[in-house]
Amino acid sequence: MLIGMVNFANSMLASLIASIPDPGIPSAPTPTMFNPVGAPADTILDITWLLVGICGLIGLVVLAMIFFAVIRCRQPKGDDTEPAQVYGSNPIELAWTVIPLLIVFVLFMVSARGIFDIEKTSPPDGAIEVRVIGHRWWWEFDYGDFATAAELHVPIDEDKPTDIYLTLESADVIHSFWMPQLGGKTDVIPNRINHLWLQVAKAGTYVGQCAEYCGNQHANMLITVVAQPRAEYEAWAANQRREAVDDRAVAAGKHIFLRTACINCHTVRGTVANGTFAPDLTHLMSRDTIGSGIARNTPNNLRAWVWDPQNIKPGCEMPSMKLTREEVDLVCAYLETLR
């Protein structure tokens, strides 16, 4: 307890001194379900309005009864007599048993259709299929011929929305993949393969995040979906497929990177680094953020991250590698060439 309190005091102090370096996903709209950009999210919103209508009405009726009683059935001052005792009424009670039953039935029929509409068990034609693997606390997106982290890119054509069909797997504990504007959420469960159908109808950047508590940094297991015109997407994908650039100018940094335990966890295709525990760094610089969206991918942030990730994402699975300042600079110089 004492130690706990000291810890607490420490963290209070720390909060005064250090704050997370300019955090943030590049400006993206609030992940609100009220601004859907795909069919599943549309369906959900329609059902929501229906619910608001029906339940709102029920709520009003009951509130009206309560307020009627509160306003009209007060005890008059000085009146000590008891009111008429009414023990019940079969027809009235029958009414408020049967009418709610009917309402429930209607609600059930309407929403059951929604379930079968949204929960797709096989990919729609022409859908882009990606394998999503939840790790503590970052997302891996496996496109088949390459893998990336935190930012899911999807192509979008002028004339029709893009279907996204995700296969969800977990490397450790339960996570949940949630993109409110593109559809519902589905849990990502170890030892089980789930699927999720999303749809995006408008180019743009959308955000969401892990929705199932998965430990320490659950709060920062963020997701970004970049829906871009097909040509742009193809260019991006072509770049992702390439092996890492090998720039002589940063050989020193590369040497340190390969010599350090980095390679046990990270992959840089084209080098000996082939760890699968952590994000693939082959095209690190093509990402806008690092640490699964906790900070923007700027040279400063990158340096701070490699110096000690625990300062930025306390508790995350990457330890401080105890590199010297110079080594960090060299490594980061190398990392910055991985476009």
């Binding site: 963290s11 009220f34 339940c55 009864m65 005792q85 048993t97 469960i189 709060a219």
Partner: protein, 555 residues
């Protein structure tokens, strides 16, 4: 009937030590009841404090007042405490105190078992909090469990939860659970076999009926949790693989077992609220409860249906559409008997002559807020909507409306109503009304905005958030609301202490009520009734006060 000869109240001063001994060694249902409720209220303060710390951290974006792992411990301890060490003891405490008095008997069927149940509960609670000292083993730093109140596997497995904090979570709840099951059995026996002459099942006060159903739920719903926790314990200490996904175990099995207990559990928590309201609303409306038989039937229906809806906590785990649809149906169905209750309470008030004393105010608060919480429950039961907001702050909003707006409000109502019986003194109406309005404001300010932030995409159990997400305003409002709540709860504490010291004398029947507990003295003597009463109707004191127009003519 033999009359127990004992002095009404021990005269003169009793030394502190023997007074303490009297409490510790007691098997008197009234003393145990008071101890349960007091312990529950103390745990409420602690858990409320934990919640306040969380709200402080979340008030603004990007704060680091509380480190992520500390935050995770806070919500785990807050949720666990509120459910197992606030809701449950207050349920058992009030049942302990009230049931023998209301059914006209002198104690529970097994008084010593009753005391044992209480001490198991207390031990469990202390064990849970002891983890703050010893969670990592005695040498290392201690700390509390950080797995969430439903402790999803495999996060609770040894691989992801080192040290002993999760073991404390298991053992603390296991012990309390065993105590609760025993006490529930005890109370069911008491209700079934020890009613005073004339009190047939259909002449029991509604409170007793509702709690009877509640205890039967406890008896069938707690053992599955105990079994699941034993399995988890074996996983953690003997290397078993029940929930160990790396060795073929299943994460979904834990979810199924937990919610098979967990959903009935939330009804176990709300039924006492229904029970209190079913006594208080009629008394302050001066009208007999509307539709007693249907209320009983609805209670039984709620009890039965609640055993078959647990999958609604698992709509997002990727079960087949058919399974989801079936459980959506069963979940919505539970709204019907609950609705019957709402309507019947409203009908009881309509045509009455309502007196707005504090207990009634809290009941009105309960009615309005539980209505909202119940309706958002129907929202959540609708699977597509649940996919949108499951595990978001919308859910947090929903369950605080039912748990705080429902359960805790009615607990306050009950305390204001029965405190005179328990202590012989009235609580201050002025302070009570202040508390009520502050709590109304604070509660709605805290938990209303949560529905919005949830629909704006804010997941629960996050220790911080970026400002770009657009949740700042809603979180700030939530946190400001807590200040009102702290003020209200503090007023409540002051009110209790003040009344114990110098509250107005209550008399035997300050509310002009109708059930048997008001026919004995306040506080009741150790033996409750000099003569075991004989009743002829559901409202024996009504009969007594209106001999010309007794209840039994109409029932």
């Amino acid at each position: 009937m033999t009359v127990v000869q004992q002095p009404l109240s021990p005269a003169g001063r009793v030394p502190a030590l023997s007074r303490l001994h009297e409490w510790v060694a007691t098997t008197d249902h009234k003393k145990l009841g008071v101890m349960y409720v007091t312990a529950g209220l103390l745990f409420f303060m602690i858990a409320g404090l934990e919640a306040s710390l969380m709200r402080w951290q979340l008030a603004l974006p990007n704060q680091s007042i509380i480190m992520p792992d500390d935050f995770n411990r806070l919500f785990t301890m807050h949720g666990t405490t509120m459910v197992f060490f606030v809701g449950m003891p207050i349920l058992f405490g009030s049942a302990n105190f009230l049931i023998p008095l209301m059914i006209g008997t002198r104690d529970l069927a097994f008084p010593r078992l009753n005391a044992f149940g209480f001490w198991l509960f207390l031990l469990g609670g202390l064990l849970l909090y002891f983890s703050y000292f010893a969670g990592q083993g005695l040498q290392g730093m201690g700390s509390a469990p950080d797995v969430g109140w439903f402790a999803y596997a495999p996060l609770t497995e040894r691989t992801f939860s080192r040290g002993h904090s999760t073991d404390y979570w298991i053992l603390g709840i296991l012990l309390t659970g065993i105590g609760s099951a025993m006490t529930a059995i005890n109370l069911v026996v008491t209700i079934l076999a020890m009613r005073c002459p004339g009190m047939s099942l259909m002449k029991m006060p509604l409170l007793v009926w509702i709690l009877l159903v509640d205890f039967i739920l406890v008896v069938v719903a707690l053992p599955p949790l105990a079994a699941a926790q034993c399995m988890l314990l074996f996983d953690r200490s003997l290397g078993a693989h029940f929930f160990d996904t790396q060795a073929g175990g299943s994460a979904l099995l834990w979810q199924n077992l937990f919610w098979f207990f967990g959903h009935p559990e939330v009804y176990i928590l709300i039924l006492p609220a229904f029970a209190f309201s079913s006594e208080i609303i009629p008394v302050f409306s001066r009208k007999v409860i509307f539709g007693y038989p249907l209320m009983v039937a609805a209670t039984v229906a709620i009890g039965i249906i609640s055993l078959g809806v647990w999958v609604h906590h698992m709509f997002a785990v990727g079960l087949s559409p058919l399974v989801n649809a079936i459980f959506m149906g069963s979940t919505m169905l539970v709204g019907v008997p609950t609705g019957i209750k709402m309507f019947n309470w409203a009908a009881t008030m309509i045509g009455g002559k309502i007196r707005f004393h504090t207990p009634m105010l809290f009941c009105l608060g309960f009615l309005c807020q539980f209505l909202l919480g119940g309706l958002t429950g129907i929202f959540l039961a609708t699977v597509p909507f649940d996919w949108a907001v499951s595990d978001s702050y919308f859910v947090v909003g929903h369950f605080h409306y039912v748990l705080f707006g429902g359960l805790v409000f009615s607990i306050f109502a009950a305390i204001y109503y029965w405190f005179p019986k328990v202590s012989g003194r009235m609580l201050s109406e002025t302070l009570g009304k202040w508390q009520f309005w502050l709590l109304m404001i604070g509660f709605n300010l805290t938990f209303g905005p949560m529905h919005v932030s949830g629909m704006l995409g804010m997941p629960r159990r996050i220790y911080t958030y970026h400002t770009e997400r657009g949740w700042d305003l809603w979180n700030l409002l939530s946190s400001i609301g807590v200040l009102f709540q702290i003020a209200a709860v503090s007023l409540f504490a002051i009110n209790i202490i003040r009344s114990l010291m110098k509250g107005a004398k209550a008399g035997d029947d300050p509310w002009d009520a109708w059930t048997l507990e008001w026919s004995t003295t306040s506080p009741p003597p150790p033996y409750n009734f000099k003569d075991i009463p004989v009743v002829h109707s559901r409202r024996p004191l009504w009969d007594l006060k209106h001999p010309d127009d007794p209840d039994w003519k109409y029932e």
